[in-house]
């Protein structure tokens, strides 16, 4: 099977992927004084801003979340994975063009590049987790053992994100407009995903149709699951997450097929 062969080829290049991810991370903070510390510092500052704004200035009204300070933590537990997703997508839209000289001059499977984008942003996501944990302990609800289930959610998001990024990166080579479409799409997608509000919010009690529509968004179940692991400390809805994984796998398969179909045109078009 074509997909299996491709994956085998990618696996052969795992050392290259690891090295390129390392290069990506090193290059990002090269020349800065604080260096790697920024990976912690960025989410920390963001967290402080949210705490001040939503804890003291505009207190949130959602009873399911609890006291205003907790809302900031709730928000952060969704924003962190969202940043992973949106940065990966934005990076992937450019990655083949930026690395055009590699594609033209060196033989290696081009899908390594979007994989590196997704993976290096994933590493940044991991760097943000300790900050999240600290604030969860300080302001959030008590932690439970369910927090150890979060790698499953990460896996689902990884598959979904990678599928999406393969699709985006290969199509952008031919249609540069996708870059602009993408930034709008991501904004829209952000607000259609329960990140700044919760899926179980009382607002939806009167308007179940909204909730219905939201559940068609695969991201809804991924982010709800994150919030369940981190914030609410309960078991996520594993059926919904299972279906989301299936959707993610299908997207991955489609994305890879499109990427493979367009692969030969990359050296000429990037």
């Amino acid at each position: 099977m074509k997909l299996a062969d491709n994956l085998k080829e990618v696996f052969k290049h795992r050392l290259l992927i690891r090295t390129l991810v390392g290069r990506e991370l090193k290059a990002r903070y090269r020349g800065t004084v604080l260096g790697f510390f920024w990976s912690f510092f960025n989410p920390f500052l963001l967290m402080v801003v949210y705490t001040v704004v939503f804890g003291f200035i505009i207190p949130a009204r959602d009873e399911s979340i609890g006291k205003p300070l907790a809302y900031a933590v709730f928000l952060f537990s969704g924003l962190l994975p969202w940043t992973w997703f949106s940065s990966s997508s934005n990076d992937s839209a450019n990655v083949l063009m930026v690395n055009g000289n590699l594609i033209k001059k060196i033989m290696f499977p081009a899908e390594v590049l979007p994989i590196v984008s997704v993976t290096s942003n994933f590493v940044h996501f991991l760097f943000g987790l300790p900050i999240l944990l600290v604030f969860l302990i300080l302001f959030g609800k008590p932690l439970t053992a369910y927090i150890f289930l979060f790698p499953i959610v990460v896996l689902v998001q990884y598959v979904f994100t990678l599928g999406f990024c393969l699709l985006i990166s290969s199509l952008t080579v031919h249609f540069r407009d996708i870059k602009d479409i993408l930034s709008n799409l991501l904004t829209f997608w952000f607000f259609s995903t329960p990140i700044i509000y919760s899926f179980g919010s009382s607002v939806f009690k009167d308007r179940p149709a909204f909730q219905q529509i939201l559940s068609f968004n695969p991201m809804t179940h991924i982010f709800t699951a994150y919030q369940d692991c981190f914030f609410f400390g309960r078991l996520f809805h594993w059926k919904r997450l299972g279906i989301t994984l299936l959707v993610g796998l299908i997207l991955f398969w489609i994305g890879y097929a499109v990427f493979d179909r367009l692969r030969d045109s990359f050296p000429e078009e990037v």
């Binding site: 090193k26 290059a27 020349g31 045109s265 050296p267």
Partner: protein, 451 residues
């Protein structure tokens, strides 16, 4: 055993129209089929049905003009581009010196880039660690290896790239014009290393415009023209044929330009009894014009007319490219309508800069004209051409002893002297070197000679 085998390989490139290029995602969807709109309007064959075999341990050269498809062949052998048709097989690990330092990240240090680049080229971390010192030493970057690559000069960049690629220790080495950017000290070092590969019986596919290097280091050479193999075989022979072709093309272009000029400057041959339209004023006195004004020209009233000029080699074949040792015959078909008693035949050889290399005529050499009428042939035989590599132009003339021109052809014929020696000047003086024994000096190793 063949190391590289190309069997009727073609590579098509898709040419999209300008309209397509600006097509958007939206319009592609509107039209229905996303993939259909990605189909090209026109297909260009960059490589067209090429077959050749490079044996293991052989150094194989590719020559041809820019855009003839050499690099595309190299890219296919490297696996970067896929053949659109045909079969291509390569035995053993390939390393391509195509673009050196492709994939260097400017922000990170030379050391880290060596590792990343090495991994891209297929080395393992262990192998790179083992060869690291050698890579840095060869690139002469011991003092700078910890500095970010963005601070490197282009020469340092290239040296590091070359050093990594050559240390991949491939079975098959692909070299594409990379030596063109090296400085005077580094290029011989690279050639040395390539030589080392040859001695160790590795296979090399070599693309270069430096024809003297090609004919020196290659066992066989293929000449690619417009994506097809024009000739394949012994280096000297192929390189000569290629150079001849280039000259002929230059001459064809030259001829076209001349025809245009002639339509304006040269009066039509005078019909009998009538006096021709006056020749251009400058024509009355054939004084050599300054270099930049040496255009192709023809003047004179053609009482004796030079009808046709052919350059031949010693075997009587028509030729445009000569080697310094060759015989050159300048053959002029001439005709006179009425008997003429006073005539002198002359030749002049000029460089492309308009510097006269040599000029003579029958009068200076004390031939005495008696009479001529009807048609005849004059041949000037030049036994050797002690000239340096380059294009030369001929002035040919028939005139009176006092200089009155019958028919004067200026710059209308050209030939190329093809020489592998890179000496300079106007002419090559026959010479030999002698050294007393105290002087340690090696005589040049002769490359492949003409059989």
């Amino acid at each position: 055993m063949p190391a590289i085998e190309l069997d009727h390989v073609s590579r098509h490139y898709q040419k999209y129209s300008a309209k397509h290029r600006f097509q958007t995602f939206k319009s592609a969807i509107d039209k229905g089929d996303l993939f259909k709109s990605l189909r090209a309007d026109e297909v260009v064959a960059a490589v067209d049905d090429v077959s050749f075999v490079v044996e293991k341990g052989e150094t194989f050269g590719l020559v041809g003009e820019n855009g003839s498809g050499k690099s595309t062949i190299l890219k296919m052998v490297a696996g970067i581009a896929k053949p659109s048709a045909g079969r291509l097989s390569v035995q053993g690990k390939v390393s391509a010196l195509i673009e050196l330092g492709a994939g260097f990240h400017p922000e990170i240090s030379g050391r880290e880039n060596v590792f990343i680049n090495g991994i891209m080229l297929g080395l393992t971390k262990k192998e790179i660690t083992k060869k690291f010192a050698e890579i840095v030493r060869f690139a002469e970057l011991e003092d700078f290896i910890e500095a970010p690559v963005k601070t490197y000069s282009s020469g340092m960049y290239m040296r590091l790239g070359f050093s990594i690629a050559i240390n991949v220790n491939p079975e098959v080495l692909l070299v594409d014009e990379v030596l063109a950017v090296g400085d005077a000290a580094f290029v011989p070092k690279c050639l040395d290393r390539i030589d080392d590969f040859r001695r160790r019986k590795k296979t090399i596919l070599f693309v270069s415009h430096d024809l003297s290097t090609v004919s020196k280091i290659c066992n066989r050479v293929a000449w690619i023209k417009s994506g097809k193999i024009k000739m394949i075989g012994e280096p000297k022979r192929v390189v000569d044929a290629y150079m001849q072709d280039v000259t002929e093309e230059q001459e064809a272009e030259f001829r076209d330009r001349k025809d245009e000029a002639a339509a304006v400057a040269v009066p039509s041959p005078p019909s009998e009894g009538k006096i021709a339209t006056p020749a251009p004023a400058a024509a009355a006195e054939p004084v050599p014009a300054p270099a930049d004004e040496r255009r192709e020209q023809r003047w004179g009233k053609r009482e004796i007319e030079i009808r046709k000029v052919v350059l031949r080699n010693g075997r009587g074949e028509e030729k445009h490219v000569f080697h310094p040792g060759d015989v050159m015959l300048i053959e002029m078909d001439i005709a006179a309508r009425e008997p003429v008693k006073d005539f002198v035949f002359g030749i002049g050889v000029f460089t492309s800069m308009g510097v006269m290399c040599y000029g003579t005529n029958t009068n200076l050499e004390e031939y005495e004209s008696v009479s001529f009428a009807g048609e005849g042939k004059v041949v000037c035989r030049i036994d050797e051409l002690p000239l340096i590599n380059g294009t030369y132009y001929l002035d040919l003339a028939v005139h009176k002893r006092d200089g009155y021109p019958y028919d004067y052809h200026r710059n209308m014929y050209s030939f190329l002297v093809s020489s592998m020696i890179r000496d300079e000047g106007v002419a090559r003086l026959a010479h030999a070197w002698e050294f007393s024994p105290e002087i340690g000096i090696k005589s040049p190793v002769k490359g492949t000679e003409t059989p």
